[in-house]
Symmetry: C2
Subunit: 411 residues, 2 copies
Amino acid sequence: MLIGNAVVGQSGGPTAAINATLEGVIRGALECDNIKKIYGMRNGIEGFMDKRLIALDEIFKDEDTLRLLGQTPAAALGSCRKKLPDPNSDKAEDVDFYARLFALLEELDIRYFFYIGGNDSMDTVAKMTKYAEKVNYDVRIVGVPKTIDNDLMMTDHTPGFGSAAKYIASTVREIIRDCSVYTVKAVTVVEIMGRDAGWLTASSAIGRIVDGTAPDYVYLPECPFDMESFYKDIEKAFERKPYVVVAVSEGLQFADGTYVGEGTQSGSTDVFGHKYLAGTGKALEMAVKNRFGCKVRSVELNLPQRCAGHLLSNTDITESVRIGRAAVHAAAEGVSGEVMVFVRKDTDAYKCDIEHRSVMNIANSTRYVPDEFISDEKNNVTDECCKYLAPLIEGEYPVVFEKGLPKHIIL
Amino acid sequence: MLIGNAVVGQSGGPTAAINATLEGVIRGALECDNIKKIYGMRNGIEGFMDKRLIALDEIFKDEDTLRLLGQTPAAALGSCRKKLPDPNSDKAEDVDFYARLFALLEELDIRYFFYIGGNDSMDTVAKMTKYAEKVNYDVRIVGVPKTIDNDLMMTDHTPGFGSAAKYIASTVREIIRDCSVYTVKAVTVVEIMGRDAGWLTASSAIGRIVDGTAPDYVYLPECPFDMESFYKDIEKAFERKPYVVVAVSEGLQFADGTYVGEGTQSGSTDVFGHKYLAGTGKALEMAVKNRFGCKVRSVELNLPQRCAGHLLSNTDITESVRIGRAAVHAAAEGVSGEVMVFVRKDTDAYKCDIEHRSVMNIANSTRYVPDEFISDEKNNVTDECCKYLAPLIEGEYPVVFEKGLPKHIIL
């Protein structure tokens, strides 16, 4: 039995469920006899290096505070986007980085290290695991997935995705209601997050299998975008009704690999080399206006889709707590260098088990929307896709409000 | 006692509460012995002219259906933006228009006419009232206000505003949580609806008197916008913390009357001569990026702020039902040519009475945010403003969901 302290950090972009997972990790740590103290690192690994830590076990002593944490959107501990150096690098600064990092772990007697994050954060877990093996430091390092993008390998879905999907599906159906009130021809382009994978954009269509309310077309980054086919799709929709609503992914690309929103985007990239995209909806708005001369509007769902804590999927939040808790129990039982995952059991009633997989199989690859979830015309998702998505948005988490506003905890 | 049929229409931009008012009108009509049938006109007065009517009393026979209507966002009957001609015009087409309109009222034995709408819609109520007097047609015409903009004269606030304000205040605090996770300098500009009046933008600040979470600055269209003061405000905020969040109204203008978003807007106008604005946030995003070289993001709350039926102010929805019902009862008692209004009773506990005022005093003028609600530096609202706004967002209307999505009724 490995006895010592634990530390937990959050990394990558915010989600509405990342604090529910933190709640789960804290609950797990409070339950485990092997874990003495649980620290939270501010701003992920960056803050840890500066020893910016808070004692979570001293803050979360009662049920109400833990519950409040779970409903607060965006990383309560703060986040970072630091990319760790190669653990086998012999560059002086890289050697020094890992030496300092592991000296700090030892100084604080950290034997349990939990990192809640997306694809890039699992890269941190993988590298630290490799380095720990190299220097033979006894620590259990476990990653807990978090991303609204749902694009991690090996897991049925990711914590945080369900709430984002619920917000998107609800908001898009409200936009459809809004657009349906006039009789003049109009096109509304809703731009949804998703740089590489179209899961979030796909979720705008869930209403179709509930009551038939869904966008007329759904364009995913998995399929090359073609302007002429797009115009033809709109023409066809206009034959049926005056208002057309389409959902587009921010990451849409033409066949030659240029981004649809390229013209209106800044062109800068983040430290992982990802391009910042923001202009897909706007670019298509202008294109449709030029082509059809009708009223056109683009709506970018923007930040609210990843931080709308006022509308949370009960499935997502309860699962997010569960997976955080499970990570701690797995670590206590000896698991390390692994990432916790959801495995959907093939039954009619939705049920997910929590297991773990080697981080080496997860980091730095992307899970795309598969072909069978995309229509033959590449302009919508299939009912099968909606059926996969539907259970993830089920249930409304009972958010506590104070004087009309969702209550948050600030650490 | 005037006995006959009633007709109700919805006009102007959608809100999340306009169907709650329709619910109230239907409830009122079902209760009144003077009213035999209640018709709904599709797409407002435009649809009425084409005799596109539905028998609401035949559809809404049970409590569940009425409740479902109340929580469905955007005009369930459809809307229009038709401006009626001058009732005293002697142009052939105008004379013909009113002749046809009133022949139709007579044909259908309409003695009660309810119009739910904003400023421009009250213009319709005023003109029809004048014409009815001129031709001595016995009909009770009552306007019921509806606008997220809260810019109607004579009323404490407008139905629909409270839910929009609740959505905005909740969403902006979530955006603040989202922006607070990183340590790099960043500015987020949230663009909020409000062409002329800053009520919606002001409501982003309500959290300040709840738990201190509010934008750093709030800029309203009531005050001329000055770029240098804006830059100074941001510099000052950066002295305290790395992330700055500002709320700006879409209608912001410089001292010379040009719109801040003018450069990036289309420049077209609607039939009432209003300019379409869309670019204020984007324009400020680019300006701040040029000036400070830091990370900048603009978030346009866009359509969801007026149609987010998944997050409704209980105060707003229950009041919206009440005012619709009250309109019918007032008409049954002889009121005509009037608009229903809220009158806030000056007590510590919030309480609003429903009264009515002459439509002539309401149509075609705008209620602005008064000076005492705006800070001396013109870059924020006062606590007094927040105190006026706070009760309007109180309570969460118990929205019915189906398979994870808010349930809507489609007429």
